[in-house]
Symmetry: C2
Subunit: 99 residues, 2 copies
Amino acid sequence: MAKLLSEVEREALLAPLVQAGWSMVDGRDAIEKRFEFKGFVSAFGWMTQVALWAEKLNHHPEWSNVYRSVDVVLTTHDCDGLSILDVELAGRMEALAAA
Amino acid sequence: MAKLLSEVEREALLAPLVQAGWSMVDGRDAIEKRFEFKGFVSAFGWMTQVALWAEKLNHHPEWSNVYRSVDVVLTTHDCDGLSILDVELAGRMEALAAA
């Protein structure tokens, strides 16, 4: 079962994500980011790659897509807040978007 | 370029969609429906099938996914409202969800 990130872990692990454009969601212990792509094929192609990782990690995003844009929210329902799984999935999303 | 549905077309074409669970979006000339699946693999699998059709029709949904649930909004930005493309894509979504 996933555990909430400690204060020390938050400082160490969230800072690089904030630098990459992630921010805290108002009123929730969750992070969010808008990813923009060249068009629908790139956007949905990225979502498909992320979906395979999400299933592998057994950790799934809340996300919405309008044409070339994907809005992502990450949090861990099991522990009602941010866990290491969110950091892992966010990192994977960044790597796939950069690839 | 897509044209807005006429009143006659609306009556004929939207009625079956309403019966299938679609409804008008408040304040927009758009239709919406929540699709529920067995789990993430089924939900995202369906999205992938729909994405291929969306690209083929060159008509894309606004949609969001949380685990096994997918919320869809359809409208046609070109004509700022419902066109035959929305009816076609909704019908395709229904057929794929039923398959």
